[in-house]
């Protein structure tokens, strides 16, 4: 190809986008600019709900599956200790973008699985609020009439007397597993922001107009 021909080809029409866009007459073509702040708000409350309010339940269900799947997948991999507003505060700022479910997980972690424990400080014994270390269990009930609530004890081993009747504290999430779990919950929060922005500035038609009996040609 000569220089003139190649120059004409490069300036005549812009190259098509990598993903085919719907034509202007298509029912999938974007409509006029609209602003849906309520849809954005409810998307934060429950991922995908904003799209359901906008008449796009399939899209909303897919968003909920993706975002909540990432979040609960993170909890499944890393345990409840993954969402921790005290020990992983910067991560929690991103986790909180997933919505109240992140605050609920953090509340459970702080109030049901962490414990006060006596630790030896530089001058005197201090009470520390922390996750259970490896090999520790949380005891929620007074043991032998003496144990304060809540506290941590060493995890019972084979042959130990059966005196640990309360719930265990969650094991500390560490290593690569903790990194992957933190990342999954953070990705859930970031993907929920994407869904929130899509709901706020949504230009699509309701699915009832696109699919099924009421669909427009």
């Amino acid at each position: 190809m000569s220089d003139a021909a190649s120059e004409a080809a490069s300036t005549a029409t812009p190259s098509p986008p990598p993903q085919a866009k719907p034509e202007p007459g298509s029912p999938f073509a974007p409509g006029p600019e609209r602003f849906h702040p309520i849809a954005g708000g409810v998307t934060w409350v429950l991922p995908g709900l904003g799209h359901v309010l906008l008449g796009q339940p399939r899209r909303g269900a897919a968003i909920a599956f993706g975002v909540l799947g990432l979040f609960f997948g993170g909890l499944l991999v890393g345990g409840i200790d993954t969402v921790d507003s005290r020990e992983d505060r910067l991560w929690f700022y991103v986790h909180a973008l997933t919505g109240p479910v992140a605050f609920g997980a953090d509340w459970l972690n702080q109030n049901r699985h962490k414990a006060w424990a006596q630790e030896v400080g530089p001058m005197r014994a201090v009470e520390v609020f922390r996750s259970a270390h490896a090999g520790e269990v949380r005891v929620n009930e007074p043991q032998n009439g003496r144990m304060p609530w809540p506290t941590l004890q060493q995890r019972p081993q084979w042959g130990d007397p059966d005196q640990f009747t309360g719930p265990r504290g969650a094991s500390k999430s560490i290593g690569k597993v903790n990194e992957v779990a933190l990342l999954m919950c953070a990705l859930a929060g970031m993907m929920n922001v994407v869904a929130l922005l899509d709901a706020v500035f949504n230009r699509r038609r309701p699915e009832s107009q696109l699919y099924g009996k009421g669909a427009r040609a």
Binding site: Q19, K21, P22, F28, Q56, R58, R59, A62, I63, F65, G66, V67, G69, L70, F72, G73, L75, L76, V77, G78, G79, I80, D81, H113, V137, R155, P156, W158, G159, D160, P161, D162, F164, R168, A170, S171, K172, S173, I174, G175, K176, V177, N178, V180, A181, L183, M184, L187, A188, M191, V194, A195, D198, R204, E207, L210, Y211
Partner: protein, 89 residues
């Protein structure tokens, strides 16, 4: 300690205790890539009926890209760097 209590105490509790995935954590790329693709393509595709195909393609792209990056890092660190170090020795 009785055996049932010990079994309860030592058992893994989903969503509370971390999963013992320290030896196969890298396989988590598959669910992570799949779920990211679902969430991303759910807001990107114009026709929601195209979602399964778009999700499959993007999941494959993400996994292949990670494999490629891993391979490139392996080649760079294990093959190229030792050769360069030998050249300037």
């Amino acid at each position: 300690m009785t055996t049932p209590t010990l079994a309860y105490t030592l058992a893994w509790r989903p969503f509370i205790d971390p999963m013992d995935a320290h030896s196969w954590w890298f396989l988590l790329i598959f669910p992570v890539a799949f779920l990211i693709s679902v969430a991303w393509k759910a807001v990107r595709v114009d026709d929601i009926r195209q979602l399964p195909r778009a999700v499959g393609v993007m999941t494959l792209q993400v996994v292949m890209a990670m494999l490629g990056l891993g391979l490139a890092a392996y080649i760079g660190l294990i093959v190229v760097l030792p050769i360069l170090a030998g050249l300037f020795r």
